[in-house]
Symmetry: C2
Subunit: 193 residues, 2 copies
DNA sequence: AATTTTACTTACTAATTAGTAAGTTTGTAA
DNA sequence: TTACAAACTTACTAATTAGTAAGTAAAATT
């Protein structure tokens, strides 16, 4: 038929949304099929195994992240502004839906994920960590950021604030994420080494 | 038969471990039955619905937490030491297993939890948050802690560090949690208001 | 024009799942 | 000692699940 050459992408996008809202274990091919008005087997045509879809979702996020890092406009920004863009684009943007970030969704159910997803997911988190640590290091050198720990430790702390900030915002108040976000920025401004 | 009057408790304990390691959606009554050498229906005898077991697990944790808060020995400790005990008892103790804390496990799959579990879980998180905020407030007054945000914000930040710290430790390095823990303490020592 | 490939649908299977109904055995109370 | 209740097991059901095999229609290739 080939009436719709974007079905595969629609499946990937909805798959990601379902992973972020319900988790990898808790979403089913039927959820996707019914929402996209296609049949179960159509999803299996594009992604024979559920783990194939999972890997595609993680890979898509890695690519999106790497494109952001290569974006010249992004790289012209100050360290401070790049941190803000990261917080808003990679994490805060999911606040409007009842979603968490992909890192938060997948790390919570890490032991039950298929090995191939675990491996891809490790790649993703280590890339984000490494980038954030280098941003913090550079920003500290330029006196934009102030913090007392190593850049690697501060990167871990900010990342965990983002991840669980979204999770907690879903349980209690939507504003909890913004509260945490503002707290991070305030500390980066005022801490002393 | 009544040969074992602790079966119910064993089910609750294993249920909690499974929720923390695999998640609420991803564990089944069969997992419990096979590990405890009992039958499926034996679990349904004690907990007719899966959500009944979920609620029991959350309630058990609330009680454990409240008993800690009422413990005279615990209350004689300094704010600094109470924070350390909380970090180690409520969170860090699960590091040895491939588990996260209950807050991290349940908040990640919050939207798919039965309503009755959601409500009980909200109680739990708000109690922890409130207690931590008051500890930080008191500790700041006594010059034990130093931080630039409100105690409520700092409580949120430390909590999210604990929650996602355990999640990330499972994905990357076990030591990530300790790194975050030590970072929190270092910042509390050295930040300026 | 004939053939093959793409992108599906129809129709299914086998496994896993929460949950139930009807027993069975043991301990306890009358 | 009889009745009853507690704590199960046996044996099931209905629903959901990932995954498959075979067919079909349109599009691209030859």
């Amino acid at each position: 038929m080939a009436k719709n050459n974007t079905t595969k992408q629609e499946i990937t996008d909805l798959g990601e949304e379902l992973i972020r809202s319900r988790g990898y274990s808790a979403f089913s091919y039927h959820d996707i099929a019914s929402q996209l008005n296609i049949k179960n087997a159509a999803i299996h045509y594009h992604f024979p195994l559920k783990e194939d879809l999972g890997v595609a979702v993680v890979k898509k996020n890695i690519e999106k992240f790497e494109e952001l890092l290569k974006n010249p406009k992004f790289n012209k920004l100050s360290e401070w502004d790049r941190l803000n863009v990261m917080m808003d684009e990679v994490f805060g943007k999911y606040l409007t839906q009842e979603c968490v970030c992909l890192v938060g969704a997948l790390s919570a159910e890490y032991p039950v994920l298929p090995e191939i997803i675990q491996e891809e997911f490790q790649q993703m988190t280590s890339k984000i960590r490494a980038w954030l640590a280098s941003l913090l290091k550079e920003g500290k050198k330029k006196k934009q950021f102030s913090f007392v720990t190593t850049p690697e430790t501060k990167a871990l702390m900010i990342l965990s604030n983002m991840i669980a900030g979204l999770q907690m915002a879903r349980v209690m108040n939507r504003s909890d994420f913004q509260t945490i976000r503002n707290g991070i920025l305030k500390e980066l401004k005022t801490e002393q080494s």
